[in-house]
Structures are given as C-alpha cells and as structure tokens.
Amino acid sequence: MTISDITVLLDARVLCGEDKLDSEVQTACGSDLMSDVLAFVKDKTVLITGLTNIHVIRTAEMLDIHCIVFARGKVPGEDVLEEAREVGIVVLTTKHTTYTTCGLLFQAGIRANNDCLAQQG
C-alpha cells in the first residue's frame, strides 16, 4: 500500500512530505527505542513511534525509512520537521495509540521485517 493509503487508514494528518504520498510501504516497525529500530534493516518501511526528538529522523535516514507516523496525536517540533523535509521523509501524525496504529496496519496486511530475525546467531 502507499503512504497515501496509510494516511486514510490511520485518519492521519500529513505534517511534511506531501509530494511523496505515492511511495510504496511494505513493512512497518513500532518502537520508541532507536537501537531496536536500527536492528531492523529494510527499506520501504514505515516507522510508528511516540519519540518526537530529532534523533528519530537521523535514525530513519540511516535505514532509508521514508515515512514516520507519530502516534497518540504527537506533533514534533519545527526543527524535527525541517530535518525530515531535508532528508525527504514523510511525517504523519495520528490520534490512535501506538498499539492501535500497529494493529490497523497489521490488519491491512503490512507486516514486520522477519529477515532480521533470521540473521541472529
């Protein structure tokens, strides 16, 4: 599904990246811990998080994550959005909790990246 589809699904507001809503999303990751996100190496991934500091953008950039959804109605500061615009990441905000947001995406067919589990050991 596309980022545009996700916006509709989550009843989300687009905070930046309006020109990139046609991008494809294949997998998702929900976490507030940056290193847990970094353990998850895949592109075309949407990140669901409640952590609104600038490190979220840099972490997403490292992984080629092209869309971030802030749950619980959270809106990051302008400095965070500016950084997101600079690196081309779409930022959405939804009133749903992290749990519900993940559930809605899972129900719509978006799965986690299981490749990283296979690499352990």
Binding site: D32, L33, M34, S35, D36, L38, A39, V41, D43, L51, N53, H55, V56, R58, T59, E61, M62, L63, D64, C116, Q119, Q120
Partner: protein, 142 residues
Amino acid sequence: MQDYTMVDVYDVKALAYATAGDASATIKRKLKQLGVDSAILRRVAVASYEAELNLIIHSRGGSITLQMSPQEIRLLTRDVGPGIPDIEKALQEGYSTANEEARNMGFGAGMGLPNMKRNADAFQIQSELGAGTQIEMRFRLG
C-alpha cells in the same frame, strides 16, 4: 593486504548529542555517490551510526575511519576511554550502561554492538580499561 584507495577520518566528540549521526550521514552520502549497492550501504550506515552513538554516549571522544578498496569497505573506530570492563556482556542484546540522559532520548536499548556485529561481514573488538576501545568492521563489496 587490501589496497584502500579512499581513507576518511571523522572525529566524534563525547556527549555531542546535537550532532549525533553527522559523521554517519556524511559517510552514507559519500558511499552513495560512489555507487555502493543500497543494501550494503544501509548495513554500513547502521553500523557506522551505532558506532558513532557509542562514541558519543559512552566514550571520552574518538574517531571513525572509513576505508574503501574495490573488494571491501572498512570502518575502524577508536576512542580514548574509558574502556569496556566486560566485552562479552556488552555484546549481549539488551545489555546497556547508557545513562538517564541517553535513555530519555531513545538510546540505550543495548543493541549497539550486536547491531554492528550483525551488519558487518567481519567484526573485531578490543578494549582496555583506562585506555580505550577499538572496533574493526569489514563489508564485502559485490
């Protein structure tokens, strides 16, 4: 013996949270311009970023050296202390000695060294208390 045609050194200051990731973003951009495969690029970027964060969060300062040959990319990190008391423990997923400030920012999940090891084709770590830590990571190209 590898013939490294490119060598770049990036200094990383202790506790420099405001610029955390700058070195890794530069490394990623440079390798992308050189046409490195995107999957390999992502692994190098993640490993570099984790290393950079470790230097900022845990060390007294250090550097990341990027080297490239036709066969591989090599990342070397070194710092001036304090050293890791128990490397086996530090390599365990979930084990972290990050302080309150780091955790409040979303760091300290205890996945740094494991993530670096998993993303690299070869990973070596050495540490001496009071002296510092050196890490070598190699990524095969093609």
